[in-house]
């Protein structure tokens, strides 16, 4: 599955996000550019299948998806009240194999649960991302691909913690277009406030052309 970012695709084994496998994205918190990074890939998923958001940290904003490619109608927001319910839901979504992608925000998760989810993911083509805190980078994990994400000026800094292939020390800088959209209203903060009113044209006298 192509990531939509050539520099990142070149570094990933298989040239893109792996399908049917657990991928970990480690961020310091929401807002590291994780969704803008995934957006290009999510947009290419089959249209009729839902995209599941499991236990997101805040309320997903519909208006943001409206501006993006995956249509908001496809979203399914699950907010289980208990941790084991969340794991169960993730397992069911992966096993059913009828969802295009699963994004699972988990704060504390045990390695054996991760292994189970990874096994469940292998049975389907679902694009499966787990979004975990940055502190989890030091813990072991069965995920074949683990990336850290940090927001950077004009994009996102991707560090590769683990991948199939040679290790890479330097983080990658992926440029993300901050705002692909024109602003809704022009920026008027620098415009002079007291615009001079345009000079009204002098009413011209009607020429006495209508001579008798």
């Amino acid at each position: 599955m192509d990531t939509g970012h050539p520099t990142l695709s070149a570094e990933l084994p298989g040239g893109g996000w792996p399908q049917g496998s657990l991928t970990e994205l480690l961020t310091a918190g929401p807002g590291a550019g994780e969704l803008r990074l995934l957006q290009a890939a999510l947009a290419k998923l089959p249209v009729q299948q839902p995209i599941v958001l499991l236990q997101p940290p805040h309320i997903p904003h519909i208006a943001a998806w409206r501006a993006w490619q995956p249509a908001p109608e496809r979203l399914l927001w699950l907010r289980p009240t208990q941790a084991n319910d969340a794991l169960w839901a993730a397992d069911q979504v992966l096993r059913s194999g009828c969802c295009a992608a699963l994004l699972f925000w988990a704060r504390n998760i045990r390695p054996e649960s991760l292994r189970r989810l990874h096994v469940a993911a292998q049975g389907s083509d679902t694009l499966f991302f787990m979004l975990r805190p940055l502190s989890a980078a030091s813990q072991s994990s069965p995920a074949p691909l683990r990336l850290t994400l940090k927001s950077a000026v004009g994009g996102v800094e991707v560090g590769i913690v683990k991948r199939r292939g040679p290790a890479r020390e330097q983080p990658l800088h992926i440029a993300l277009d901050i705002s692909a959209l024109p602003p809704l209203y022009p920026d008027v903060s620098d415009a002079p406030v007291d615009l001079r009113t345009p000079v009204a044209a002098e009413p011209r006298r009607a020429a006495h052309v209508l001579a008798h």
Partner: protein, 465 residues
């Protein structure tokens, strides 16, 4: 032929104070059929003695018949707790005799019964073959099998047992070799008829079981159940019967209700109802049992259960599935609906949400999520603008330092303002929205509250993902 699956402890069934059936454990204790209650309690004090309940036996037989209706509409009760199924037309559908036998065995086992199966080209022949537990598909081997069967197996021959013994006839084959006219004079027509029917030389007529018009069954429990999850075992039996009934009626259910009747203490307790509404009519036992398991797992009982019932008030004509030429890679829409149903059953309908945006300029009002329903979400027209991915449930008030709002680090303006002024009918909101960026280049969606008569304050409302 149906037998009960015995529980693990020693059990004896009594009729007129005499043992008529014993579990293997009871036999190990030295008990025998025909023993009296007193002598048995002297031999094995701990043994559980139950009175025979003919009504419940009939009920169990009817339940089994209902469950087996999913394999053939031609089914009838026969002697000695057996059921006759005419499966000639079902063999191909269910993948041959062996696969069909396996499915029937599983269905019967799910009801807590044991089945001994026999298969033959004639009904009486199959009934006799069930004693051997063998399958024959053609007449010649059936005749060979019948020839060396003990003659007491045929009920019509039992009254004349002594006479046959005197003649030295021990097998059905030997009886058949006797002169026909003399046999008929001595033993009457029923024996000749039964023999001919078994060999396929006389027609057999049956009155097939007709499924009732609506499904509602109750099962009284032997022991009280304290945990809702334990009720699943009985509920599974009921679901099997329901699915048999549905198959017979060519229908599918859109709603089922599990009724858990409580023990009556000092006050009558209203039964607990577990309603399961299905987005798509279903007829598969596995799916219904899975939904019931999730619901029962979350249920807390106020009192022990003594009776379990299953009602299917709503059923619709079953639409046969339309097969597409190529299988869809991501599952069919029906698969997706089943997944959503399963998630809703465990997590609760308030926790499985889809978009239901409202036409409003206030982001917290417009960004509305609703429990997933039958209808696909509809999106009202709205301007497309650069919006944060995350919206905070409650906006966080921010401190201002050097005329700049502060959130962990000082923030720098990127874009804005964008004035939103609406909602005079329920809490006026006058806000100027800005996009700000912190030192780590994380971008936030801030607003300045400009409600009239109040101080200007900064709030954090969203985070750009």
């Amino acid at each position: 032929m149906l037998h009960t699956s015995w529980p693990t402890e020693a059990v004896v069934v009594l009729e007129h104070e005499c043992a008529i059936a014993l579990s293997p454990q009871a036999i190990d204790l030295g008990l025998q059929g025909g023993m009296r209650r007193n002598s048995m309690s002297a031999l094995a004090p701990g043994v559980l003695m139950l009175e025979r309940q003919p009504l419940r036996e009939t009920d169990t037989r009817d339940g089994a018949a209902l469950a087996l209706l999913q394999y053939t509409p031609e089914l009838t009760h026969a002697d000695e707790d057996s059921l006759l199924l005419s499966v000639a037309a079902s063999l191909r559908l269910f993948g041959g005799p062996r696969a069909l036998c396996r499915r029937i065995r599983n269905t019967v086992a799910a009801l807590g019964l044991n089945a001994q199966l026999g298969m033959a080209p004639t009904a009486t022949g199959a009934w006799l073959m069930a004693r051997r537990g063998r399958r024959v598909m053609r007449r010649e081997p059936l005749v060979r099998h019948l020839a060396n069967m003990p003659c007491t197996w045929l009920p019509a021959a039992r009254p004349h047992r002594d006479w046959f013994d005197g003649l030295g006839c021990r097998t059905l084959g030997a009886i058949r070799a006797l002169p026909r006219a003399g046999l008929q004079r001595r033993c009457g027509k029923p024996l000749i008829k039964a023999l001919d029917a078994a060999h396929g030389e006389a027609p057999e007529l049956f009155e097939w079981v007709v499924a009732p018009a609506s499904f509602s069954r109750r099962v009284e429990l032997i022991a009280r159940i304290d945990h809702a999850e334990a009720a699943l075992f009985v509920a599974r039996h009921l679901v099997e019967q329901l699915c048999g009934w549905l198959a017979a009626q060519q229908r599918a259910v859109s709603q089922i209700t599990l009724v858990l009747e409580h023990e009556r203490g000092r006050h009558a307790i209203a039964p607990t109802l577990v309603d399961i509404a299905l987005a798509e009519p279903a007829w598969q036992p596995e799916h219904l049992v899975r939904l019931l398991r999730e619901r029962l797992g979350r249920l807390e009982l106020g009192a022990p259960i003594i009776q379990i019932g299953l009602d299917a008030p709503d059923s619709v004509a079953f639409a046969p599935p339309s097969e597409s030429l190529f299988p869809e890679p991501g599952g069919t829409p029906a698969d997706r609906r089943r997944l959503v149903e399963l998630l809703t059953a465990r997590l609760g309908s308030d926790q499985v949400l889809q978009v239901a945006p409202r036409a409003d300029y206030r982001p917290e009002v417009a960004n509305h999520w609703a429990p997933i329903g039958d209808r696909p979400p509809s999106l009202p027209e709205a301007p497309v603008a650069d919006r944060p991915f995350w919206l905070l449930d409650i906006p966080i008030p921010l401190v201002v330092r050097d005329n700049r709002p502060l959130y962990r680090t000082p923030l720098r303006k990127v874009a804005g303002p964008e004035r939103i002024e609406t909602g005079w009918w329920d809490g006026l909101a006058v806000r100027d929205y800005f996009v700000y960026e912190d030192e780590h280049a994380t971008r936030y969606w801030l607003y300045q509250d400009r409600s009239p008569g109040a101080d200007i304050k900064w709030f954090l409302h969203g985070i750009f993902g």
